[in-house]
Amino acid sequence: PADTRDATQARVRSPPAPVTDVARLCVCDLLVAQCDTNCCCDPDCSAEDFSLFTTCSIPVVVGDSQLCSQKAAVYSLDVEANPPERIFKLIDQVNPSIFCIHATNYEQALYFKSPEIPTAENFDELLDKFGGATFSAEPDSWNLDTDAQNPPEANETSRYEYGVPVQTEDAFLRLPSPVVSSWCSDANPAGFLVNQATKCFRSVSVEKCDSIQALSMLFYINSSILAVPKSSQMVNITVQSIVVQSVNGMRTLLSSSEALRLPMVLDELCINAVLGVNYHITHTDTGEIIEAAAAFVLGAISRESLSIEQSFEISFTQENTQPVPLSGNPGYVVGLPVRAGFQPQGYPSPAAFLSNKHSQLTILHSTSTQDCLAAQGARAPVLFGYNMISGCKLRITAAMKCQPLAQTLLDVLKGQSFPEYVASFGNSQAQDVLDWVPVTQLHISEQIISHTLQSSCQIPVSLGIEIKWTKYGSLVNPQARIVNVTATITSTTLKQLPSGRERIIPITSSVVFTDISSPAEPSYKAWPTINIKLPFDFFYPFV
């Protein structure tokens, strides 16, 4: 065994000598000791095998064809003869070009380099050179590059960028989240400008509740956040508010949120356990964190519960701005609320719009009681792309007066603040007046030719909002853009009822989204024209 091992080692150390004689070189000879089909240069083939071939897969074997004169082995099949036989000729191939290589004094020019066989001595050096994911042909220049790469890194981390983990004194700002299962993992860092909300379960026991770190407020606010990465400027996390949730789920906001409340065992309950944390980070527009606040929800854990659900949220706000949730960027996203607003009074020309979370386009929300007068105030936001219909039933008695009833129904249908303008894009800014579409209001009254000529009153019975939108932008990524909003109020005549009778009238409101985009036509760029103009004195002596 020792002899064979030495022999194999000796075999491994010296690689096989490269073959440079074209007469003995055969690339199609793949099978050892067997004849390869259609391989005319295979030495394992006999004359009978050659007579069965149809063509030679490799007709010529040459070295580098750039040489001025070189030997070439030419293989061909003579199909005229019976049986067909292989013809082998060794000829001198001449390159007629004047730039053919006459001689070279650089041996590696025309041949592949023999690779270094790794031995115990040169293994480390070879691993350094070739062990990485990439290696260059000239290893010396590689070292210079790595020196040059280090300085740019120091400049880049002078501010936070999107997605970069928010750093604290010891590690990162943790946002516990479920990783593989629904159990909380404390190793999830919060990314800068990444608004996240997570919910996960934590196993608890009432006896050890004051020793479990994740249940105490301190765990979430004790390490301060670095204002910029790798700096020494710290931002303390302040407690913004504390909400205490009782055992039956009722939440109370504590008036003074200065004192830290740590978990402790009281009457078989563990109180002041953290059930939820909501981080609010304020940053500048250059990527520096200037404020951090945390709002806590504390609760009680009973003896029987083995695990509690904790919820965490983090949101980033730029300083001196009011965050407005966008409904798309720029086109509306299906399912997000349609943004609407008002034009401020007193401006002759529209300068800016008031748009906040409360000025949304809303529609009546059907309730289980289905009584219009009892369900005042329940409204649902109009979500882009979702056609909705809702309604209620109005019970009219003889005692009801027309005018107040009509006004009440108008309030029920349109809501308290029906907006005047709707944002054309999901990210329309309040300052851009051209990005807002006015709401057209139509009144249709169903005239019922009544037998009596009493002065009848009109009450609105249905509100239909039709939102026309179109596809805007490029063919491959069209953005939804609202073009037209029409709110149609249909009124009907209320006939006077005889006393004691009552009628039930259905009241409906609906939202319909219509796609009015014209079919897309791809347009192609014009062919470039060649504009050649000769200078005016081109034909100088003759013109």
């Binding site: 004047i98 730039f99 001689a103 070279t104 004094n105 650089y106 020019a109």
Partner: protein, 133 residues
């Protein structure tokens, strides 16, 4: 009047000057071509370029001394020019035989230049002999 200056030498020197300009540009262009088409590492490219530029630097005083010596019928500048010719011949032989890649065009250009140098040397020797005696 006995004019010892050699007219054939003068003509040959003039033709040599013109031919050398063409030779220098052609060889430089071919070295650039070789470095793009073939594998030509810097370790092998530097000596070839150095030899070419050294030859160009030698050529200028060589031709000047040749003209001057021939016209003023002095043997000292002509002898110095002959010495510089030996150096140029050696560099030319290097470019002919020991370059990294010797193309067929290289062989032609260098052979013509060597022939010119040889003929020039012969004429210079006869001119020196004529001046001395």
């Amino acid at each position: 009047s006995s004019q010892l200056s050699s007219l054939p030498l003068h003509i040959l020197l003039y033709v040599n000057g013109v031919y050398y300009i063409f030779y220098f540009l052609a060889t430089l262009a071919m070295i650039i071509y070789k470095s793009q088409v073939f594998s030509y590492p810097d370790d092998f490219l530097a000596p070839d370029l150095a030899v070419l530029f050294l030859m160009a630097i030698l050529e200028v005083p060589r031709l000047y001394l040749g003209f001057k010596g021939n016209l003023t019928e002095e043997e000292a500048p002509l002898g110095l020019s002959l010495g510089l010719t030996v150096g140029s011949v050696l560099l030319c032989v290097y470019l002919l035989l020991w370059q990294s890649y010797v193309l067929w065009a290289d062989v032609l250009l260098n052979a013509v230049l060597l022939a010119a140098y040889g003929l020039e040397s012969g004429l210079k020797v006869t001119a020196i002999a004529a001046f001395v005696s």
